[in-house]
């Protein structure tokens, strides 16, 4: 076999191994605050951003709410004004000079835009629907195509950044903003672009909370991934953006992205995590590294009985019981389509800082879960780490990252 090829574990195709991409800049916004410093401080202090939700819900739950002010969009983009586009604009602003630097280095047409969302402009649409039910008319400022549609994020990012390469929104539920890393990687490798802005966002709304409650998946209290007493998820809102490029002064490297389907059930994971296992194996194979090279896994770890059990079986099948694993969902809540990029950013942060945060709320761990959940801040002693995103529809993504 050509030493520069690998055998894909699902398709059995011979695929050339690929050079890594560089993560040159990143930022995120969640219930923990905006930017790297706010998230680092919260994780170091083992401080959750989840709070009980007050209001009109007919059930109890806790949520991760973005509490900072999200300024209105510039007048030229006012027709796109929605909480999700404001969140994206807030993140673009936080990237600061990295945007013009990227533009200058690669040129507008050579920078792609790939963002993920599960619920798009649902917060605006829910409010508009309620207004229509009450008054018989939509609010005059509501525009379904410009505010709700998945693609509505793109013209906002184009206008705020000047990036003019290929652009799309990936929507594969809770794996959306991890999957965009695969798209950027493919198109940079194909020579279509040199760099990309990747990320995603999702915002809170009643529909999401009622929906997960109807599924019996919502916890009444802050979620406790992997714990024996866990009883469901906590929803969060947030977003993250990351600049990746074929080379540069990087903070970390994207070594590989494994993507699979469960082919099992539209909303329940495969009971043994077969699809998740294959995604992790694919990422390792594409990068040409051994499981023992990986020093840390940021698990999807939602806090539901089924997800955590299936994912832990998949992790154990690939990595054994010793690799340190955490879920950051008890800090931020499950940010749905935004979870992938924010957890990728938190994993980059772990590689940069050399330590793994405690898996908040995990103790005592479910006896059926026999992987190495970290209960206290733990030294990261290897240069590779992985993060998993597992979604409705059976969509699984594993992102393998390397230290700079």
């Amino acid at each position: 076999m050509n030493p520069l090829t690998m055998t894909h574990p699902v398709s059995n195709l011979q695929i050339p191994t690929r050079p890594a991409l560089w993560v040159t800049h990143y930022t995120m916004c969640s219930a923990l605050g905006t930017g790297r410093p706010a998230h680092l401080a919260a994780l170091a202090a083992e401080r959750t951003g989840l709070i009980p939700v007050q209001g009109s819900l007919p059930f109890q739950t806790a949520c991760g709410i973005v509490s900072c002010e999200l300024p209105a969009l510039p007048p030229a983009l006012a027709h796109h004004d929605a909480r999700i586009t404001r969140l994206i604009a807030h993140l673009v602003a936080d990237l600061g000079d990295a945007i013009p630097q990227t533009l200058s280095r690669w040129g507008p047409a050579r920078v792609g835009i790939f963002v993920g969302t599960s619920t798009a402009g649902i917060a605006s649409t829910e409010a508009a629907w309620r207004a229509h039910v009450a008054t018989g008319a939509l609010p005059p400022e509501y525009d379904f195509a410009a505010q709700h549609s998945y693609g509505a994020i793109i013209p906002v990012i184009r206008a705020l950044t000047g990036f003019a390469g290929p652009a799309f929104v990936t929507s594969t539920a809770c794996s959306s903003s991890a999957k965009v890393l695969a798209s950027a990687t493919r198109l940079i490798h194909a020579g279509v672009i040199d760099a990309a802005l990747v990320g995603g966002a999702d915002t809170l709304c009643d529909l999401t909370l009622h929906g997960f409650h109807a599924l019996g998946a919502l916890s009444a209290t802050p979620c406790r991934p992997f714990a024996a007493t866990r009883d469901g998820i906590s929803i969060g809102e947030g977003g993250g953006l990351m600049l990746v490029a074929r080379d540069g002064e990087g903070r970390a490297r994207v070594l590989a992205v494994g993507e699979t389907n469960d082919a099992h059930h539209i909303s329940a994971p495969h009971p043994e995590g077969a699809g998740a296992r294959a995604a992790m194996q694919a990422a390792l194979a594409i990068a040409g590294v051994k499981p023992s090279d990986v020093g840390h896994i940021n698990a999807h770890g939602t806090g539901t009985i089924l997800n955590d059990r299936a994912e832990s079986q998949a992790i154990e099948a690939v990595f054994g019981r010793d690799v340190p694993v955490l879920s950051t969902k008890a800090y931020t809540g499950h940010m749905l389509g935004a979870a992938g990029v924010i957890e990728t950013a938190l994993t980059v942060m772990a590689l940069e800082e050399g330590w793994i945060p405690a898996s908040l709320g995990a103790g005592p761990v479910d006896e059926a879960i026999t992987i190495g959940i970290v209960h206290t801040r733990t030294r990261l002693d290897r240069g590779l780490a992985m993060t998993n995103s597992l979604a409705f529809g059976g969509s699984n993504v594993s992102v393998l990252l390397g230290a700079a």
Binding site: V133, A145, R186, A391
Partner: protein, 302 residues
């Protein structure tokens, strides 16, 4: 002039140069069309509307799952069934491209949310995500490989092809591009933005998967690309990576306004050019997008 294809220049572990936009990047091996007026390729080619308008069946989905699928997913599955004669559905990658996704399910959920008391259907909620059709296809065909689901407004079809060609470049041999939309519910979408149901599916195959393939540069020989030494099923057409070209106008398809308004109408532009064996650039939007175009060429019979 015979040139190497984009798909063969990246096996040395280094980043390649940009793909020449005039070089075919993939072959179209199958095509399926479903709209209420044209529920199949033959109806589409003859532009003979079915009377009364048809309802999609979703025949690819197992009966137990089929009862609950949306019209959009059903139409996508029917077009998939027509396009995939040469595809191994259990191993083929798939890219679902839809500007609006499952908005009919969203409308039903919003009705339930604003009822008193609110009571959401858990099945409808789980089926409201954009990647519902992608997940159902993987379940129906036991395919654990790669699929994805994306949107880009009026450039949704172009985005689907860009993602699909990236997947082929990454080593896959076959990928299905499934484009479709249904702009509703009426309570949210203005009358002049409503678009009727449609789905178009293209089965793409990497040129490196066609035996001993050599392909001409369509910029120098626009009407005579050759597939040399290829003994397998003949492609319907070859296409290039999409590039922007504002000088290209969308074709006149002779379809109703509510179908022409669909954000995915560019897929019908391409289906029209493929079935008419029309060489040259095809615009992948209906005029409201960024003018992404792919260039079609047709293999010369051996």
């Amino acid at each position: 002039m015979t040139v190497s294809t984009c798909n063969t220049n990246n096996d040395n572990g280094k980043f390649p140069s940009p793909c020449p936009p005039s070089v075919p990047a993939a072959a179209i091996m199958g095509l399926g069309v479903w709209t209420p007026d044209f529920p199949g390729l033959s109806a589409w080619m003859s532009r003979t509307p079915t009377t009364p308008p048809a309802h999609p069946r979703g025949a690819l989905v197992p009966p137990m799952l089929r009862r609950r699928i949306s019209p959009l997913t059903a139409a996508m599955m029917d077009a998939l069934a027509e396009a995939s004669a040469e595809a191994d559905l259990a191993g083929c990658a798939a890219v679902f491209a839809s500007a609006h996704g499952e908005t009919s399910v969203l409308g039903a959920l919003l009705e339930q949310l604003t009822a008193a008391p609110p009571a959401l259907s858990p099945i409808a909620f789980a089926s409201s995500v954009h990647n519902t059709a992608s997940g159902l296809l993987s379940i129906a065909t036991h395919n654990r490989g790669l699929s994805t689901s994306l949107a880009a407004g009026h450039d949704t079809v172009a985005a689907g092809f860009i993602e699909a060609l990236g997947i082929l470049h990454d080593g896959a041999t076959d990928v299905l591009v499934v484009a479709g939309d249904l702009a509703e519910p009426d309570r949210l979408v203005c009358p002049d933005e409503r678009a009727s149901l449609m789905a178009v599916v293209f089965h793409l195959r990497a040129l490196h998967a066609l035996t001993d393939t050599e392909v001409d540069d369509v910029s120098t020989q626009p009407d005579s690309p050759r597939l040399m030494g290829h003994d397998g099923p003949q492609p319907l057409a070859l296409l290039t990576w999409p590039v922007r070209d504002l000088t290209i106008s969308p074709p006149t398809l002779g379809i109703k306004e509510d179908l022409a308004r669909s954000p995915c109408v560019g897929a019908l532009n391409l289906a029209d050019a493929v079935t008419r064996r029309s060489c040259g650039p095809v615009r992948l939007d209906g005029g409201a997008g960024d003018a992404w175009c792919t260039t079609l060429s047709f293999p010369r019979p051996r």
